[in-house]
């Protein structure tokens, strides 16, 4: 009887299994999962201001240092790959922001961006035209590093948002982390087109 009560007390002391995860989400201008582009037109023009909210939720059970990384890609540049050892996109980021998140804390921050300068490229009469982005305005800053991307006919650009987590053992940020004994990663990507550059004066 004594042993049973001691065992029950021990069981009450042992913490129950905790489902560890991070959540990353992107919301539109109204803070909802809709209206990501003005007038819901994904074929944008330079100067069109786009507003999103980025949310990160920490359900890892402890405080975590996280970094949200923004990359501009086209269709052919490799994006993040969760099926292949959770590898991040090899493309360099054009913007990063870091934050310490308490356990169970949600961090939501707004981003406002627009394409500042893009041109249409005419290779030759036999080759299709392409659009090339040269610069962005992002949260009030003009960015030219790692935003130079071309896309055939201006189709299939994408902004990739990756979550990187500080790994205490390596002392570096990592795209993948271990949660409940499994390696995991999370990213968002939003596609857009820029096919109407030639219509600009």
């Amino acid at each position: 009887m004594f042993s049973v009560v001691v065992y029950l007390g021990y069981l009450a002391e042992v913490p129950s299994a905790y489902d560890q995860y991070f959540a990353l989400y992107t919301l539109g201008s109204a803070g909802l999962a809709e209206h990501y582009f003005p007038g819901d037109v994904v074929d944008i023009l330079p100067g069109v201001r786009i507003s999103w909210y980025i949310g990160v939720y920490n359900h890892m059970g402890t405080v975590q240092l996280v970094k949200v990384v923004f990359k501009l890609l086209n269709l052919t540049v490799f994006g993040p790959d969760q099926m292949n050892n959770n590898t991040a996109s090899p493309r360099e980021s054009f913007y990063e922001t870091t934050r310490l998140l308490l356990s169970n804390e949600t961090w939501i921050f707004p981003i406002n961006w627009s394409v500042l300068n893009a041109t249409e490229i005419h290779f030759s009469s036999s080759l299709p035209n392409a659009t090339e982005i040269h610069s962005l305005t992002f949260n009030g800053q003009v960015l030219t590093d790692n935003v130079d991307v071309e896309a055939l006919y201006g189709y299939n650009y994408r902004i990739v948002i990756e979550l990187w987590v500080y790994d205490d053992s390596s002392g570096n940020f990592s795209f993948a982390w271990t949660a409940n004994g499994e390696e995991r990663s999370v990213y968002n990507q939003i596609w857009f087109n820029m096919t109407r550059i030639s219509l600009l004066p």
Binding site: M1, F2, V5, V6, G9, T62
Partner: protein, 188 residues
């Protein structure tokens, strides 16, 4: 091989008292070039290492920030309330991000000032997180001791009560058995 080639080269240049042009065979030339490239490569590597060793103010503040984060995490895992320190840490991170942007644009003075402010903030966090962790660990230990004593006492009380009940039960049953034995047979 390399040594013998060098010896051969030295021998060929010093043995003869007559001044004559140095003749190098293919092997000697190869090893001389290899040695030359090795020296160049080592010096280039050393130069780049020296450049890397010079950490910028932003990089330095970042290293201090990493130390502060490790202390904060330890305090959090010990059960301390680190909400206020986390807020301070995030403000310092914001300063550091701005410093990094100024550094990229070449405004090193502003970058350095912001990085220094961020670093001071990180440096203030480290001892504060340390003391929070110590207090949380002490509290945790006291609570754990109290809980274990409670569990043991509870178990002991339950065991005593159980034994007492069993004893009472045993006595009642013995009495009933004895009463059955001494009861005269009906109709005897």
């Amino acid at each position: 091989m390399f040594y013998s080639s060098v010896v051969q080269l030295v021998a060929s240049t010093t043995a003869s008292p007559v001044q004559r042009p140095i003749k190098l065979n293919i092997t000697s030339r190869f090893f001389l070039l290899t040695a030359l490239f090795s020296v160049l490569a080592i010096s280039t590597f050393a130069a780049s290492f020296a450049v890397n060793a010079q950490v910028s103010p932003v990089g330095h503040a970042l290293q201090t920030g990493e130390r502060a984060y490790i202390e904060l995490k330890a305090a959090d895992e010990a059960g301390a309330n680190i909400t206020a320190l986390a807020l301070q840490f995030n403000v310092a991170l914001g300063l550091l991000e701005n410093a990094s942007r100024f550094e990229k644009t070449g405004d090193n003075a502003t970058a350095s000032a912001l990085a220094s402010e961020a670093e001071n903030s990180f440096l203030a966090i480290i001892p504060a997180a340390d003391s929070l962790e110590a207090a949380a660990l002490s509290k945790q230990q006291q609570e754990a001791t109290g809980r274990y004593i409670g569990i043991l006492m509870g178990a002991l009380i339950v065991a005593v009560v159980a034994v007492a009940l069993l004893e009472v039960n045993r006595r009642i049953r013995w009495r009933q058995f004895a009463e059955l034995r001494i009861k005269p047979k009906v109709g005897a």
